[in-house]
């Protein structure tokens, strides 16, 4: 199987170590990974701020770029949700029949990372070793839009050495919400404070999730507060082994 990695604009720029982790993980599982240089952004930021035309042009670009990919893997639930939930509306409004068809053919082949592992590869034990105490934050897109369900838990469960502590109020939004974090920064911070109470109460070393967007928001505050907890994308946990422990940056 040849998987095309869509790293996402913000991971490419801010969290390249997540990309490297996905690569290491998938190759370890026998998946050939390719990386298409033309990739930029899925258009979510523009779509969510009401810039429909712009979002459309980015969406079109993405569909064209991956039209012949066997499978596309994305370590970001919000980007997958964008593609699954908003692309068809955009194409209906602004696209043509040919483009809609191309998209319809592509979308079943687009997977979020945990979906790819559990559903496509049929594994929950990825041979990972991560001897730390960890809690898991369910990003809203993963939880509701993608209905990831127990996939992340099944994967974490099989990581050797990992001490899992569940997060209370798991279904409550952390307050990131994309541009919301800036347009409504104060409310976003209030929501963040509430979320951090639950996160810190787990007494764990790491808060993990399938989205670096939420983790950037949570981790940014943890760092500001010198709270002694870090955030880490689940790909990095799953990629971690005894021989190649997790790459931690910053």
């Amino acid at each position: 199987m040849r998987a095309s990695l869509f790293i996402t604009c913000y991971n490419d720029t801010l969290f390249p170590e997540t990309g490297r982790a996905v690569l290491r993980l998938l190759e370890r599982l026998g998946v050939e990974v390719e990386f298409r240089r033309g990739q930029t952004c899925c258009g979510q930021m523009h779509a969510n701020t009401g810039f429909r035309g712009e979002a459309f042009s980015q969406a079109k670009r993405l569909v064209k770029l991956y039209a012949d990919a066997e499978v596309v893997v994305i370590p970001s639930s919000s980007c997958v949700a964008m593609i699954r939930d908003q692309y068809s509306g955009l194409f209906e409004e602004l696209g043509d029949e040919a483009l809609r068809k191309e998209f319809a053919a592509l979308v079943p082949r687009v997977h979020e990372l945990s979906e790819f592992l559990v559903d496509k590869l049929g594994v929950d034990d990825v041979g990972a070793y991560f001897p730390h105490r960890v809690t898991y934050h369910a990003s809203c897109h993963g939880l509701r839009a993608l209905q990831l369900g127990d996939r992340p838990f099944r994967l974490l469960n099989k990581v050797r050495g990992l001490g899992f502590v569940p997060l209370e109020n798991l279904d409550r939004c952390c307050g990131f919400g994309g541009t919301f974090s800036v347009k409504n920064a104060e409310v976003s911070s209030a929501m963040l404070a509430v979320k951090l109470e639950d996160v810190l109460r787990t007494g764990t070393e790491f808060c993990t999730a399938l989205d670096n967007s939420c983790l950037m928001h949570l981790g940014g505050a943890l760092h500001r507060q010198n709270a002694g907890m870090k955030t880490i994308h689940m790909a990095q946990i799953l990629a971690s082994t005894e021989d190649h422990p997790v790459e931690l940056m910053g």
């Binding site: 390249p16 258009g43 950037m216």
Partner: protein, 524 residues
Amino acid sequence: MSAVVEHEVVAEREVMTEREVMDRPILDPALAPPFPVAALPLLRNLQLRKNVAHAIDVIQAKRARLVAEKPDWQALRSAASRIRDEALQDLGAYLEQFEARCTAAGGTVHWALDAADARKIILKILREEKADEVIKIKTMTSAEIQLNPFLEANGVRTYETDLAEIILQLGEGEPSHIVVPALHVNRGQVREIFARRMGIENLSDEPEALTAAARNYLRQKFLSVPTAISGANFLIAETGSVVVVESEGNGRMCLTLPRTMITLAGIEKVLPRFADLEVMLQLLARSATGERMNPYTSLWTGVTPGDGPQKFHVVLLDNGRSSILGRKTERQTLRCIRCAACMNTCPVYRQTGGHAYGSVYPGPIGAILTPQLEQMRHAQSLPFASSLCGACYEVCPVKINIPEVLLELRARVTDQERKQALRFFDPLYLGLRAANLIFSRAWLFHAAQRMGRIALRLFTREDGWIHALPGIGAKWTQTRDLRGLPDQTFHEWWEKNRDRGNKGPREKGRKRTSDRGNKGADGQ
């Protein structure tokens, strides 16, 4: 398509002081400050946040328990959604049917284009009845049209009879929730209001005592005021009936004892058939108050000789609803049955309470309903007052996809705003335009990343983190650090280490992936 009024620019409001917002929150969307401005002083009010969180946590927990015990909950939601859509699909026909049946049963049906029209009609009826007082059952619709101040100015005293509405009326406050409007007020505050306005000495702050005070205060009003005004939870087209759902019994008092009854109802309240209630009533109380059924529900049809008011008027209110009907994605907004489950579950509402929304309809439903009722001339900040978490959609009994409507409204607001000259220089608009250009070509994207990395080095401290950014970035760094941009983007790393025809480097002791055959993967 109905005529859409051109969007006007609303000037940025000055920051309101906390005092101002708490004393007299502005719930007129035409005058209210934008959400982020209104929210700030409310966020700083810890007592308010505590009251709101407590109230909605209680209702949410009760609701969740009842939903868990109802195996056909999702089937009920689907049926309710379809019933509401059916009503909206043929709204004109059902309204006419309602009018015919209600009239045949002795009621009089009026049609009001907008708030001013409705106020005029109601005042006219009151003048005909020579009424100088009215008792009222709680109805957010009357708050929407700002009825009370209008009546008071025209010599008609209004007496709210719902406990929460009394608290607000006597305390000169504003509603912050559509089902529990005074949830932001705690018992000490209620005690103070009642003691002062009802003239009661030694009033305790126990809820029992406060409720008893209200009961006594109202009894005489119920027995003596001959004119009442209500809203409607539902209008039944098949029979011309009105349905009012309540807990306290003040509704029953107002719709039984007076001589003249006026019901004000939005046109979207209509249900096609009496039997549709079997679905709606199973959902409403569970969603609104976390009970299997609310204590009292009343249904009446026109006038019944010898029982209840002998004069009955219905005022059907449009006030922007018909404009929502014409829009494919937004139409679902009108399915709403005003249960408030959305705001009870909303993590944003939990932090700010209702007054931040500048409307009698706050929370997620308010964020989509209010700007649309204003025909997108006001309340444009509301569709952005959401992190799009989707919790509201999960709990909505009629399955309104609120996030979908929020996104649609954001697009409409942006389309209008970007035409304005002054928006061109708005940092957010500039940034998003630039971002779009950057994302359109990989080389531009890569160049921008390099430039960004260099620029941000200025702000990156020794520990590799950014603690303060200027301009719009300051909104982030107010409360969060940002990790400095890594020296290499992922694609730069890939190019350097991997870009040899997409074959991975040999790892010690392992074959190339392409040589591995089916190892690891499940034969795909």
